[in-house]
């Protein structure tokens, strides 16, 4: 056995490597800069806020690094440095330390930070670009696939969504990278497989139903599953153990709730994507889900 909090966090970092690599491959120094900013700011913020609480910061458990990397991967590379810094400070301060630090927070810290900058700096969060290395252009600024679809009805090819040569937040563009890292996490049992399974299942069902009602839509179930932050969110954000339910049954409910909310937001809201809000909403329901899914003890009725 011998699993400790630190080795769990180390496993998460290993699982995040494919996304970090794909981000660097597609977004070059934008990705490097954004990730470094977020990790450094997260560590600094953790230290600062824990000290304000009069406690000793424990950076060695790597949890602040994990939050920093996930936050960085959930931001567009082009967002200015201060966006990353502010997001990290909010994530650690408001998202985690005010609740009592590791293990005590209700909301996923990285998503708390991201939600803040998403609203406060809407402009810099939307615009992004990726370096099309095979073209002789330094950077192509364009809308994300989901945004382009929502605004213009444009459809990005499934190949692009799978490999990741498209636009979006750093970590979300490559479905392949998300799957690789996500499966590793599930196999290591650091992430509970029930959560991503629930997310994907309910997304599949709802997207499928939406598709059946509008057969002519070129945005298929596969686009819904591979596009946007769905896979990244399902495997890396929703599976944060602290903010997700404890029991297998609860994990299914939690995952399916996220999938349903994502589809609700994607189909009916003004936002092109809904993973972040879906996770935060379900986070708030976690204590309730835990209470409703107390397992039947052995020999109990």
């Amino acid at each position: 056995m011998g699993m400790t909090i630190q080795t769990m966090m180390r496993d998460v970092l290993i699982a995040l490597a494919p996304m970090v690599l794909s981000a660097i491959y597609f977004f070059h120094w934008y990705a490097v800069k954004q990730l470094l900013t977020c990790v450094a700011a997260a560590l600094l913020a953790e230290m600062l806020f824990t000290r304000m609480r009069g406690r000793k910061a424990n950076l060695g458990d790597l949890s602040a690094v994990v939050t920093g990397v996930i936050l960085g991967l959930s931001l567009p590379g082009t967002a200015p440095w201060y966006v990353g810094v502010i997001a990290a400070a909010i994530a650690m301060g408001i998202g985690k330390i005010v609740f009592g630090g590791l293990g005590m927070n209700i909301f996923n810290p990285a998503m708390v930070g991201r939600a803040f900058v998403m609203i406060a700096f809407a402009g810099s969060m939307a615009a992004s670009g990726y370096v099309a290395s095979r073209l002789n252009i330094d950077i192509m600024s364009q809308a994300t696939p989901l945004n382009a679809h929502k605004q213009l009805g444009a459809v990005v090819s499934l190949q692009s969504l799978f490999w990741g040569n498209t636009n979006g937040s750093l970590g979300e563009t490559s479905a392949l990278a998300c799957l690789l890292g996500g499966l590793f996490l599930c196999i290591r049992r650091v992430a509970s497989w029930e959560i991503p399974a629930g997310v994907l299942l309910s997304t599949f069902v709802i997207a499928g139903a939406a598709n059946l009602m509008n057969l002519s839509s070129p945005w298929t179930v596969a686009h819904h599953l591979l596009g946007g932050a769905l896979l990244f969110g399902a495997f890396f954000i929703a599976t944060d153990p602290v903010t997700s339910p404890l029991t297998p049954g609860g994990k299914w409910i939690f995952g399916m709730g996220i999938g349903a909310l994502v589809m609700l937001l994607r189909l009916f809201s003004g936002y092109p994507e809904g993973v972040m809000f879906a996770v935060l909403l379900m986070n708030s329901l976690t204590p309730l889900i835990n209470r409703l899914t107390i397992p039947r003890p052995f020999g109990g009725v």
Binding site: G2, I5, T7, V190, S192, P297, G299
Partner: protein, 463 residues
């Protein structure tokens, strides 16, 4: 088709019994049994003195029947069981009674104890072995006994469960009451890592185990008797199988998994029945007892010998020469460790029992009691050291809890003294197997917290 049938029956070698041969959840800690599993039982001569707490079992303490300076003979009754759930106490040596002492057992209980200084003639090692395990066990000649007679012999011999919980056996192996018993399950699982006492008893004294089981089955009126053994104990399985057919017993080979030796999980594995929460095996028509206890029953009924000695494993990386010993009750553990060559330099922790459910202790004067199944001395390398951090709600404890509880919630509720939460999460169902603490990545002392929670609840009830 025939081939398929053959395949199917191969897949279920357990067709002799109705359970699946295992239970859900649980953990696989390293076994480390080979340190001592092949060492034959050695008889320990009478020590200079023995310390016999008046309460070595679940229930009420016994009343001392001897006074200081009084001479007692080997096997003499020195304490009378009081009330229904209690057990008699017998002198494991001949000698002179000293002043009553207070002793602290590894589980933290302070108890009055009778101290006997050894004096005069003692049975030698061979004699003791022959009395307790040797010779013939012609159980058929005892089949005329009534259940009441068998039960009376168990009661007067002061027998308690030797598997660890030390519940008085006359209560469990009792003649038919309002709840008829259909099956006697004999527990030979010994799922606790390191320990090999039950294993050695099964290998070296299979005949005594079978004799005891037949008598116990007769006492409870069971129609069938099943001995459950984990599949890592080949020799014991073979030894008992050789005798089982003739005796009308079944041997159920079970998957090696901790805590298979838990009563409820053993019944689940062999009969596919669940003991209701808060209930007893008798509620579903099952009586259950440990293999070593069966040998004590055979001795009491067939040879009129009280429970004065037991087999323990002295093992762990921190012991010079790990051994299995037949020791007199009340022998101070320090003397036992000396017999095993003493402690190694890197010994780090002494545990009464095994590493999963045992209690750490520090005082070498601590006596062996009826419930001591072994002494495990771990080295620094064997002790898992995780700095306690905080629960990240990873749910590993939920995944392994054999009672399907939510250990981290119970621990938290106990820490915050939240009685509502403690009740809602069924704290009393926890039997403290330690699977949760074993897997906890945060190194939390979950079992200790839950024990406090149970105490809180008990205090609340007694208000």
């Amino acid at each position: 088709m025939a081939l398929l049938k053959q395949q199917l029956s191969k897949k279920r070698p357990s067709s002799a019994f109705s359970g699946s041969g295992t239970f859900s959840h649980g953990v696989h800690p390293p076994q480390r049994k080979t340190l001592v599993s092949d060492v034959p039982i050695e008889v320990v001569p009478a020590p200079e003195k023995v310390i016999l707490p008046l309460l070595q079992h679940v229930g009420g303490p016994c009343t001392p029947l001897v006074k200081p300076k009084q001479k007692v003979a080997f096997g003499e009754l020195i304490g009378r069981g009081e009330g229904f759930i209690s057990a008699a106490l017998h002198a494991p040596v001949s000698g002179v009674v000293q002043k009553m002492a207070v002793t602290t057992l590894p589980n933290g209980r302070h108890l009055q104890a009778i101290v006997i200084r050894t004096e005069g003639e003692q049975p030698d090692a061979q004699e003791l072995w022959d009395q307790m395990f040797g010779g013939e066990w012609p159980v058929k000649t005892f089949q005329g006994l009534t259940p009441e007679q068998i039960n009376a012999a168990i009661l007067s011999a002061g027998i308690v469960g030797l598997g660890g919980a030390a519940f008085p056996t006359h209560v469990k192996i009792a003649p038919v009451g309002e709840k008829p018993i259909h099956t006697l399950v004999v527990n030979g699982c010994e799922c606790e890592p390191y320990l090999s006492t039950d294993y050695r008893v099964m290998v070296e004294a299979a005949e005594v185990v079978v004799a005891g089981a037949m008598l116990a089955a007769r006492a409870v009126g069971a129609k069938q008797t099943i001995i459950g053994i984990e599949d890592n104990k080949r020799e014991a399985i073979d030894a008992l199988r050789r005798l089982a057919g003739g005796a009308g017993l079944k041997v159920a080979v079970l998957k090696t998994k901790y805590p298979q030796g838990s009563e409820k999980h053993l019944i689940k594995a062999v009969l596919n029945r669940e003991v209701p929460l808060g209930g007893l095996p008798a509620d579903i028509g099952v009586a259950i007892s440990n293999v070593a206890t069966m040998t004590a029953v055979a001795r009491a009924v067939m040879r009129d010998i009280p429970l004065t000695h037991r087999v323990i494993s002295v093992t762990g990386g921190g012991i010079m020469e790990p051994k299995n010993l037949l020791v007199p009750m009340g022998m101070p553990i320090g003397g036992i460790i000396d017999i095993c060559g003493g402690l190694k330099k890197n010994a780090a922790r002494m545990i009464a029992g095994g590493p999963m459910m045992g209690f750490a202790f520090t005082d070498l004067a601590t006596p062996v009691t009826k419930g001591t199944s072994g002494i495990t001395v771990l080295t620094h390398e064997e002790v898992r050291r995780v700095d306690q951090s905080v629960c990240v709600r990873c749910g590993r404890c939920v995944d392994v809890c054999p009672m399907k509880l939510v250990p981290t919630k119970l621990a938290m509720a106990s820490r915050y003294k939240d009685l509502d939460l403690i009740r809602r999460y069924s704290i009393m169902a926890c039997f403290e197997c330690g699977s949760c603490a074993y897997v906890c990545p945060a190194g939390l002392l979950l079992v200790q917290h839950i024990r406090t929670g149970k105490a809180l609840l008990a205090a609340e009830r007694n208000k």
